[in-house]
Symmetry: C2
Subunit: 242 residues, 2 copies
DNA sequence: CCAAATTTAATAGTAATACTATCAAATAAT
DNA sequence: ATTATTTGATAGTATTACTATTAAATTTGG
């Protein structure tokens, strides 16, 4: 009984530590003023998600956003230097949210294999319901990440921005999946590449099934998740068992 | 002897058919005027490759290109509607060139496994030497494809442009690799997804090793090719043997 | 090889984008 | 209630992404 209580206490403390680290905390160099700190900031975030989803990143402008929220273009510049920084903010928020899902939902699983399977599921499935956070629509944000995330790092400024930590959350998430892979099969030679490929590849397969359906096996029935689960099973789990 | 001659004749005719289909022929809706048809057109292509490589696609403009080739901005618009179309042209050229490499270099291989291995090598390795085509630098073009290709399809116009056949060469190349996969292991459930993932994933891994080296196992010694070869060996070749 | 047709260069101009600056009005904090 | 901060409104700049026009240069066909 005492052992049980001690374990519970340990688990609780462990969870608290994790949850603290997992708060959606975005590098404050990404914004000029924290959009979470005001009503206007939250409206900027909320409506920018809707507008980028509808118009695409190229057609989206601060002027249009200003009109949509009945605020002024110049006010938006007080929160974000430019739309690139806003995209970095939104995608960082998304990866942070996904990391939170990953850690929370794998925490209670003890089997490394089941942990890995759950992890792959979380990181490759489509987001279908808008949960918890009031002003942020995760369903749309998932679609934005599929269509726009690569534009945030395929720039000439990537090395500088990487140094400034703008991609830290994304990279940490890749490393978490890598750790799950290594835990099942320590002898696999390319755990980091596999992890980064699963996360990026899932975005790509989701894109393909919507737009280039001829070059993917994924569709409404066969999900990217089932493809990547099969992949991981063959490469990591089955070989890990041997 | 006669049999041998007949075979040679058949092989030659087969090669001719293939080479005809493989001529770098780009959908003529991509350009206003064929850049191959004039000296100015070739200079536009040659220098746009150098400029996009140096400046990145966002900073590259027709005005700057005009200045670089000592020609006029308006003259460039007679060849390409806008820089997006120019990017489509360059990347189509690249995929066509790669397809040519793929078909030519796998043609003489009879073993399906060796064919697949060679195919994966061709489609995942870095381009290191500028061959054959006078005014097009394939080494730079490969780097442009790594850094910019996804921008050509991650747009709101993708479905329309896809219907117009702007991505046909790329998709055909994915299908060719898929065919190589199926030839080795017909029971693998996701040959198209694996093929598209290898081609896109190789670009991604090349990017990561240059800019986010922490989340890939690839580097100067461990190439993306060795990673993808191992993948294909485990998923397709070993299981195909069983 | 000369005239006609085509291509290219030069210039100008437009609408939109991506900002910056200024200042007044509204709101919140002490 | 006063002060500080935030927001809104207006204006302005440099650059981009084009289009239009016309003259000069080049190519081509008879």
């Amino acid at each position: 009984m005492i052992v049980l209580l001690l374990n519970l206490a340990r688990i609780r403390s462990y969870m608290e530590t994790l949850l603290k680290n997992l708060k959606v905390e975005i590098n404050d160099k990404i914004y000029v003023k924290d959009p979470e700190s005001s009503d206007l900031g939250k409206r900027i975030v909320k409506h920018s998600i809707e507008m980028i989803y509808e118009l695409g990143f190229e057609q989206f402008t601060f002027k249009k956003l200003g009109a949509a929220i009945k605020s002024n273009e110049s006010s938006i510049y007080r929160y974000f230097e430019n739309k690139h920084k806003l995209l970095l903010y939104l995608t960082s928020w998304y990866w942070s949210w996904l990391e939170y899902q990953l850690v929370l939902q794998t925490m209670i699983i003890t089997s490394p294999q089941d942990k890995l399977i759950k992890g792959v599921e979380i990181l490759t499935q489509e987001v279908t319901q808008d949960s918890s956070f009031s002003h942020i629509n995760e369903v749309l944000l998932n679609k934005i990440v599929i269509a726009e995330y690569s534009k945030s790092y395929l720039t000439k400024e990537v090395d500088k921005e990487n140094k400034d930590g703008y991609f830290a959350i994304y990279k940490r998430l890749v490393m978490r999946l890598k750790d799950l892979i290594v835990a099942v099969n320590g002898s696999y030679k390319f755990p980091s590449s596999l992890s980064s490929m699963i996360i990026d590849g899932a975005l790509h397969q989701h894109f393909l099934k919507e737009h280039f359906s001829g070059i993917t096996d994924c569709n409404k029935k066969i999900t990217p998740t089932s493809y990547f689960l099969d992949l991981v099973e063959q490469l990591i789990i089955n070989n890990g068992k041997k």
